[in-house]
């Protein structure tokens, strides 16, 4: 299968990329890892006239912690970099749990977190993780830089809030105001399949009490679902069995699953509840077990 014909440019700076995007307008598309875009182009679901390949722009492949404790992930940071990251293992258990569950190991060598967010697939795993963590996307355009909260970034299935002449340059996870814990669990039929159900739980705790929480769901609605009521039920409380069960019930109630070849709506809703219970039962107030959260790949 071949993509339809396009012009290819590989700029060497963000400024050059922005002027190409301005020139291409609606017909231009940014190519980072290409693990979603190239398949879409081969299937002719996407036929951009101009491809702006950002892979030759230096200095975008980072992920790092800022002095204030926030974590920044550059537009060319690959899933595999995050999977191998010592920083995430020690500082950001939810992302550490999710990274090994993205697609398959070979795709993770090319695909990027920022690209995945921009692709805005309702089944995307990172969108839930970044939503639960309260992160935002940094966009650069001719008018300057702006931060777009994840909650506003996805405007519909496969649609994001970027203007045609803007480039998403990084994603920022805000500094925790307590000890971070939580996890990401994904039910998939086989490695590399889309999530039947994915649940991201991001917690911050202080002295055994939850100081802030985010819960987001993958694959159980037309877009990523932020289960705000479920998260709110945790804040200000210790992770007692009763509190955990309440949050799990509220998360399941927030899901809008549909019956399809991956499972019945009832089953998916049940799995949302189960995953919230599982992640929270391990997050015993501190981050000790949380990093293992995602390694349990349900079949």
């Amino acid at each position: 299968m071949y993509p339809s014909r396009f012009r290819y440019e590989a700029p060497r700076s963000i400024g050059e990329a922005l002027s190409l995007l301005g020139e291409g307008g609606d017909e231009a598309k940014v190519l980072a890892g290409g693990q979603s875009l190239v398949p879409l182009m081969k299937l002719r679901f996407a036929s951009p006239e101009l491809i702006v390949d950002i892979n030759n722009i230096p200095g975008l492949d980072y992920h790092r912690e800022d002095a204030d404790g926030s974590i920044r992930i550059g537009a060319l940071c690959r899933h595999a970099d995050l999977e191998r990251s010592a920083l995430l293992k020690s500082k950001q258990p939810v992302m550490a749990a999710a990274a090994p569950l993205i697609a398959d190991p070979i795709v993770r060598n090319r695909g990027t977190l920022v690209g995945s967010l921009c692709h805005a697939d309702p089944q995307g795993d990172w969108a839930s993780v970044v939503t639960a963590l309260g992160g935002h996307v940094v966009a650069r355009g001719p008018g300057g830089t702006r931060a777009i909260p994840m909650a506003d970034f996805v405007t519909g299935p496969f649609q994001n809030a970027l203007a045609p002449d803007e480039l998403a340059v990084e994603t920022v996870i805000p500094a925790p105001n307590g000890t971070p814990s939580g996890g990401y669990l994904k039910l998939e039929r086989r490695v590399g399949d889309f999530a039947t159900v994915g649940v991201a739980v991001a917690l911050q705790t202080s002295g055994g009490t939850v100081t802030s929480a985010g819960i987001a769901l993958t694959g159980v609605g037309g877009s990523t679902i932020s289960a705000d009521e479920a998260a709110a039920a945790l804040v200000g409380n210790a992770l007692a069995a009763e509190t955990i069960a309440q949050a799990a019930d509220l998360a399941a109630a927030a899901a809008r699953p549909r019956t399809d070849h991956r499972g019945s709506a009832e089953y998916k809703r049940h799995m949302v509840r189960t995953f919230v219970l599982r992640i929270l039962s391990r997050s015993d107030g501190e981050a000790t077990h949380a990093a293992n959260g995602g390694a349990e790949r349900a079949a």
Binding site: M1, R5, F6, V38, K42, P105, I106
Partner: protein, 174 residues
Amino acid sequence: MTIVYEDRGDDATSEVPVNRIKFTINGQKMIAEVEPRLLLSHLIRRGLGLTGTHMGCDTTNCGACTVLVDGRPVKSCTMLAVQADGHSIETVEGLSGQSELHPLQEGFKQEHGLQCGFCTPGMMMTAKALLAENPSPTEEEVRWALSGNLCRCTGYQNIVKSVLWAADKLRSQG
């Protein structure tokens, strides 16, 4: 390398964009002129005639077309050939020396790691990258590393054994 285009008699035909790229394939430096929409897998198979890289699903699922780009496994059906500019590609043809099999190839032979053989080149390239990063993988680590490569024949048992065999051999060679 020659690419033949269909003459549609329209403006688009006279404006076929062509990019010149330089890359290394199995240690050999190359120059190619490619249309940007050419996939890396097609550059390798048709342009270079290296048909050891197989096209299975053509949808980023099966991993049969896996090659190493700067040492990392990549599905070559999901990368544009033009993106190989400045990079080093390794295919299954680059594994063996003139007379000797690579330990991975030997391992697949010794442990019967293939039946139809279609997925084998991709399996070996992924395994090569794994063993470069982790010379002593556990069975679990081999299975995890190969989880993006599908095999419809073997049930994976002997593929995993083959990779572990190769790891032993490579370690014993120092």
